[in-house]
């Protein structure tokens, strides 16, 4: 039988669609917010509904700065770090919107580094195409999960158990690498104000509005980072916080309260904190949350037993 070329194209594309959709369904989490084969691997999607009381959002400075397990250990507050390296604020906003459908945190920490990453509308278009592809074929989104594949996971297909290896701890990635920052003191006073671009501004406002609508306290914070921080950025973030009546914690100017040792606490010469730096920031944030008094200590709550189990593994990993 001779098949004409147009029919071949249709046949090929149909097969491809079925294959991609099938692959998404079988090997990877069924949908972005549903748990699947990789239930415990790498996503807030696997957390039970309404169990996360605070969130950390932003780019790589967020991911590397606050470890929810450290805060759980000392205070019993449940939090999740959903920062994504290189994330633009529009993506932060859309991710937050999605997460808030399942979780109802009382507090959100927004890291400010992404405020100064301006992006063109073209990037927004790029992102829109990207998001649609991810929705259409989840395999496109979760493709990197092949790294964490484990034979035990195949059991999940049958009994929905979750034996996948844990690679991150509530969104925080353990990086103990030390690459010292040798540049000396970087905090200099200045009157200048670093302008925040139109698009980031728009999405900051969207995030502020979203938090207001859902009655969430939004707190801005800046990770200590000599490579990215300037006094003018501090000034503009402070102005933005004041304008919107938000609390703003700038760790760059809190050397007395959170003494960063730049010989030990950074993984890449002052660009990001390493694990040791993140412990200092997390300790401060834990104490801050305790002072705020709005969150609950769940350490003795049986519903949160899995957190204690995770803590054992986390302590082993971090050699505590």
């Amino acid at each position: 039988m001779k098949i004409n070329n147009k029919a071949k194209i249709v046949l090929f594309l149909s097969g491809l669609f079925i294959l991609l959709y099938g692959l998404s369904y079988v090997i990877l989490p069924n949908n972005t917010m549903d748990s699947g084969l990789y239930k415990k691997t790498n996503s807030i999607a696997s957390e039970p509904e309404n169990t996360i009381d605070y969130l950390v959002i932003g780019d790589s400075e967020a991911v590397s700065s606050i470890s929810p397990m450290e805060i759980w250990k000392d205070y019993g507050y449940t939090g999740y770090n959903i920062g994504v390296p290189g994330q633009r604020l529009q993506d932060t906003y859309y991710l937050l919107e999605k997460v808030l459908k399942k979780q109802s945190p009382k507090i959100i920490f927004l890291e400010t580094n992404a405020f100064y990453r301006d992006f063109k509308y073209l990037n927004a278009l790029d992102n829109m195409v990207d998001e649609n592809m991810k929705n259409l074929f989840p395999v496109y989104k979760f493709h990197s999960n092949w790294k964490y594949f484990h034979l035990n996971m195949l059991r999940n297909l049958k009994d929905k158990a979750a034996d996948g290896p844990i690679v991150t701890y509530k969104g925080f990635k353990y990086v103990p690498v030390i690459n010292p920052y040798k540049g000396g003191p970087y905090v200099k006073e200045s009157e200048s104000i670093y302008p925040i671009g139109d698009q980031p501004s728009q999405y900051i406002n969207n995030i502020i509005q979203l938090c207001k609508d859902q009655n969430i306290q939004l707190i801005l914070y800046s990770t200590p980072t000599p490579k990215n921080w300037t006094a003018s950025k501090h000034n503009s973030a402070t102005a933005l916080a004041n304008e919107n009546q938000l609390k703003f914690i700038d760790f760059n100017i809190m050397q007395d309260e959170v003494p960063f040792d730049w010989q030990k606490d950074t993984r890449d010469e002052g660009d990001h904190p390493n694990y040791f730096g993140s412990v200092k920031i997390s300790n401060y944030i834990g104490a801050f949350l305790a002072k705020e008094g709005t969150l609950t200590d769940y350490r003795k709550d049986k519903k949160y037993e899995s957190w204690n189990q995770d803590l054992i593994a986390y302590k082993k990993l971090t050699k505590q």
Binding site: I3, N5, K8, I9, L11, F12, G15, L16, L19, L20, L23, V84, P85, G86, L122, L125, D126, V129, D130, M133, K134, V139, Y140, K141, H143, S144, W146, K147, V177, N179, D268, E269
Partner: protein, 527 residues
């Protein structure tokens, strides 16, 4: 928007193809031109004006040269002193050509190199305790200017030497300079190779579509599985070289070389694939470069279109100047055929490698990179007879495997050292890194897990290894003159489909993109 961005792959390119497909043939070139300008504008915005200016200028200069030639013919028909008249017109044409080239290169020099000259000049002034005389100005450089400027110059020179006729069709010429798949990283095509087929607006054929998409997929394989996955490790080493030494630096140089090859040749695959779909044969830019026997052969297989451009528009013109000819003649007379030949080519080769280094960017390490290859190629040329004599005396068969392995290892060492300096952020950093190979050599980094702390996990290494082995196998097959796509096309449909599905899934799963990965820019788009 780059060739591997979701916007390009899933929206822009399919939409352009659809618009091209449904348009009447006479309008198809307009679809491509409009798409090319949208593409350019999406990256460089208002700097599109420079591309438009270059287009208008070469169009006008080409016609001006033609007009001058017509005038000459008319003049020669009536004048008595034909020789004098010819000389006058030859001079006029030369002036027109230099005006055109000067304008094209002037824009490039101003935008890309002015800061380099100014800062070096200021450094020299400071050396003599004088004040900096010029302010350093950073211009925003339009995308692809290094590539389209060379295309523009080749067009003018080819018109000047009457290799091609000047094009009075502005639209065709505009498309030749702006064709979007070649905008970011070339290859540097000649007007005679692509302009006609670009303008023709051929119908999309089934075979072209399948071949083109397969080529694009192969490009994505190289870019996403090898180049982008290696990026964190390469960046870690070259951004903070002071933290590493010995084997780690060697690994950095080796993996950067593979990254660069996979990135650049992968982009070219995507470009050639896009061209194939549209019925345009874009020249190849790579031919298994690591299978070369010598450094000069390597450069005939790596970035081929830049090499041929430099040969045609730098090497030959310098060789054919009065001085070049005289140098050749004298050298051969004084030093004999071989040595004379090597010496006489040293001047044009100096021009070629200076231009090669300088074209890549405004850093002394690029100039060093060019001079490094100049020295190696001259040395190879100089010692070739001695090598032949020596191998014959030792009864070494130069075509047999052991000698070929020796040649390959020698070439790889040359290439890796070259790329170490090429990738270094400055010349001094390049020397520091090179020196640190010997000062901090320690085998234990291979086993103590420190390599896994550079942003690349064991799984990443597995994916890269798989990619490189595939690249090697495909290279061996191509080297034997076998077309894999021709072979696949003879398979039965289920086998064909199955193979392509598997290839798509491999790229989709093993590619380094999406969450947790920063998009990696195309390396050569920055040159």
């Amino acid at each position: 928007m780059t060739y591997n961005s979701p916007l390009y792959l899933f929206a822009f390119f399919p939409l352009v193809l659809a618009a091209y497909y449904i348009s009447p043939q006479r309008h198809r070139s307009r679809v491509l031109l409009l798409a090319s300008y949208i593409f350019f504008y999406s990256i460089s915005g208002k700097l599109l004006i420079y591309l438009l200016l270059s287009t208008l200028l070469i169009h006008h200069t080409g016609l001006w040269l033609d007009h001058c030639r017509s005038e000459e013919k008319k003049e020669l028909a009536v004048t008595q002193d034909k020789k004098a008249s010819k000389a006058v017109f030859a001079k006029k044409r030369r002036h027109i050509l230099w005006f055109g080239i000067g304008f094209q290169l002037g824009i490039l020099l101003l935008l890309k190199y002015s800061n380099f000259f100014v800062s070096n000049l200021n450094d020299v002034m400071n050396l003599f305790s004088l004040k900096s005389i010029l302010p350093a100005t950073h211009f925003v450089v339009p995308i692809g200017i290094s590539f389209y400027t060379l295309q523009a110059v080749s067009y003018l020179v080819d018109v000047y030497y009457e290799k091609i006729k000047p094009d009075d069709n502005l639209e065709r010429l505009a498309l030749y300079l702006a064709f979007f798949p070649t905008l970011m990283e070339g290859p540097i095509s000649r007007y005679s190779q692509v302009a006609e087929s670009l303008y023709e607006g051929k119908q999309i054929q089934y075979k072209n579509l399948t071949y083109g998409l397969q080529r694009i997929l192969w490009g994505l394989f190289k870019k996403l599985i090898i180049a982008d996955r290696l990026n964190p490790l390469v960046e870690s080493i070259f951004n903070t070289p002071g933290n590493y030494s010995g084997i780690t630096i060697i690994i950095g140089a080796v993996l950067y070389t593979f990254q660069l090859y996979a990135d650049f040749s992968g982009c070219i695959d995507m470009t050639i694939g896009a061209g194939e779909i549209l019925g345009v044969t874009i020249p190849e830019n790579f031919r298994q470069p690591f299978f070369a026997k010598t450094a000069s052969e390597f450069w005939r297989r790596w970035h081929i279109t830049l090499g041929t451009w430099l040969k045609d528009y730098v090497f030959y013109p310098i060789s054919l100047t009065k001085f070049g000819k005289k140098l050749g003649k004298k050298s051969r007379e004084k030093f004999g055929k071989h040595l004379g030949q090597v010496l006489s080519t040293s001047l044009p080769l100096f021009g070629v490698w200076m231009a090669n280094g300088f074209w890549h960017g405004t850093g002394w390490h690029y100039i060093f990179f060019g001079m490094y290859y100049l020295a190696i190629i001259l040395f190879e040329n100089l010692t070739e007879p001695a090598v032949v004599t020596l191998t014959n005396a030792l009864h070494i068969n130069r075509e047999r495997i052991p000698y070929r392995i020796f040649q390959t290892v020698k070439l790889l060492i040359i290439v890796f050292i070259g790329e170490l300096f090429f990738a270094a952020r400055s010349l001094s950093q390049g020397f520091q890194m090179f020196a640190s190979i010997f000062t901090g050599f320690n085998w234990s980094v291979l086993t103590d897990g420190s390599l896994l702390k550079l942003g690349v996990s064991i799984q990443d290494f597995f994916a890269v290894f798989f990619g490189l082995v595939t690249l090697l196998i495909v290279g061996v097959i191509h080297e034997r003159g076998i077309s894999i796509r021709d072979r696949i096309s003879t398979w039965r449909m289920p086998a064909r489909f199955g193979f392509l599905y598997a290839a798509i899934i491999v790229v989709l799963i093993l590619g380094a993109y999406g969450e947790g990965y920063l998009p990696v820019k195309l390396i050569y788009a920055g040159f």
